[in-house]
Amino acid sequence: MPEATRVRWVLAAATSVALVASGCGSSGGGGSSSSDASKTFSYQSSEPQNPLQPANANEAGGGRIIQNLFKGLVDYDPSNATLRMQVADSIDTSDSQTFNVTLKSNWTFHDGTPVKSSNFVNAWNWAATTTNNQINSSWFSDIQGYKDVHPDSGAPTATTMSGLTVTDDTHFTIKLTTKVSYFEYKLGYIAFSPLPDSFYNDPAAAGQNPIGNGPYQFVSWAHNSQVVTKSYPNYQGVDKPKNGGVVFKMYTTAEAAYADLQSNNLDVMDQVPPSALATYKNDLGDRAIDSPQGAIQNIGFPLYQPDWAGPEKAKVRQGLSMAIDRATITKTVLQGSRAPASAWVAEGVEGYKQGNCGNFCNFDPAQAKQLITEGGGVPGNKLTITYNADGGHKEWVDAVCNSIRQNTGVDCVGDPKVDFKTARAAITGHTVTGAFRTGWVQDYPLNANFLADVYRTGAASNDFGYSSPEFDKLATQADQADSIQASATGYQQAEAVLQQDMPAIPLWYYRTNSGYSTNVQNVVFDSFGNPAWTQVEVKG
């Protein structure tokens, strides 16, 4: 119904103008009387790995800074992980393939220039082009014409994607190669941020001195020491800063950051170090934070190995899953820093359905033994779990192995690899013969992200070589649904297919265990493990 759609977004545009006209004066405020909106707070960070270009940050150090300097079409409400409009006034589609974007007209970059359609389109084209070496370039692969700017090999044949068309300063369309009903959710990722026209004069310099359109503007970057930002007075987003800015202080170790937090030299941090997990709630009292994160820890299996390929081996994997005492391990070994998983999608994510793993995520030694026997047993009656030794995984891998050994009689040992890179090389190179640690941290808080990107046949992060026609069919159907809710429900059905095949055993969900100093208040963490930056109040 294209006509209906058009009416809807014209209406939406009109309302937004009215809102802006009437709501200009009522910015700021909202904090308690004891907070000072001009004061900055400090946050634990690490030196960014890459220049501060939106499509070039996929690690926490650079990502969280860019997230504050830039704001895209949409973002996610920190309180409930649902999508909310930011620069976009509306994003409409009638077929889940062509998206009509209408921008709010009053947004400006920190250099004062207006945020226009072309700022988005040019930024995405630039970021997707292979020769510009942006790490997040593959995020644009849904868009028509992506292969022209980003061929599988060789030089790009174009510099723009045919799927992006600028209509005027506040309207543009995105055409995708196939239907992706939840494409809007992807748009909240920082790679989709707009870039000011000045960026292209010298992208390298812009990476050292970024000009964004977000709630905070860049002040200075003392490398390895700190990045200073201040709140941008003309910020038009729904989340106006209640503080004067964020100072990102670089720490090499979480221990050092925690010591500083306790003595009020640091205001908010990511995650307390493992050594403080047992004591941090006592140390910090009501300033301690324990909230869910959109991330899951799994044990995956190499289904491409003959030993694990047989369909009957699904029973063995189900049995192994039932032999793991998740409740005890999360409470004791992991000291409550994780919550037992009951599905392949993390809790707190749109579309999360508790218990979608069925009985197979319940601890039941008798059933476990029976299933393993029915499936013909673990090859060689010995299971190895490959993991990276640099990530603090040894303790729980050993505990999982103990659980399996005691409850099923299957011999189980951990197989540590020196570091993350080495473990990943073994896993992606398909040289692993036993089970391996794997996990997923959300890119966007929607169940599709935990399923399509991991379990679809040939998906980039399908480490298991898993291929299920039924799962693929349901996922494709979900992609073509006409609303995000319908798509999320569709993916719940696809998720249920994983019960039968068990390509990976869900173990537990990550939690944010953090805290804040006595200088700040109203610190709430979202499912990405980030605080709601703009909502932090600094005491007066």
Partner: protein
Amino acid sequence: MGSYVLRRVLQMIPVFFGSTLLIFLMVYSLPGDPIVALFGDKAADPAQVAALRQKYYLDQPIWKQYLHYMGNLFQGDFGTSFTGRPVSEIMADAFPVTIRLALMAFVFELVVGLTLGVLSGLRRGSVVDTVVLVLTLVVISIPVFVLAYIAQTIFATNLGWVTPTVQDSTDLSQLILPAIVLGSLSLAFVARLTRTSIGENLRADYIRTATAKGLPRRTIITRHLLRNSLIPVVTFLGTDLGALMGGAIVTEGIFNVQGIGNVLYRAINQKEGPTVVGIVTVLVIVYLVASLLVDLLYAVLDPRIRYA
């Protein structure tokens, strides 16, 4: 003397090439692919990986990479890190901090270590001697990172005299605690070396002669005893300056000092070849210069050792 110095300086050239080549090979043989690692948890996009490899010259064989690196180096270009910053700039930021930290630790161990060593060496078997021996033994047996955490807990968390970590790495007063921790291990060695050396020399003929001539005790100790006793200590101190710079990695991590140790640690983790090679090369040069200075100091302390 002049030709000796020249010879020593010329010797540094092969050492320089050898060490850079070795470090280059070592970084190269580290497991894992630095470009793939840039993608973190997520699957790397092959086309982008190829483009990035080309950008960082990593698609070439190792010998070509080395030649490329050395070629750039002689044009004063240390290469760029993944963050897009020139390595020379990174080093210019970090080295002064670490040099300051190492020098403070050095001065601390020199002054306190020598004083303790002389005191206990002159009064062997006394209470002072026993106390020094016990204290230094304790320090030697505790790893630096334990010592650092203890110092952090006592002086920052409990007493509140300092902040737990260094807030401004360019502020000398904030570096005092990390410097003391860093220098404490060497301090114990300096004290014990000095003590032993003095103890031996006290029984030497020339000291007896000086005493028999009726020289004042102060003159005997400073002019005759110390000068000879310092030779082994100076050897130790010389190489220690290099060790302090490298050893700062642990201390800098715990006190969050933004020095070379921190940068090196991260660069090794990320397999950032140019940064690692650049930093280690400079550290090698520091070692070379330090040992050269030691050899020159020998000559000052003992004319017999002087080279022709």
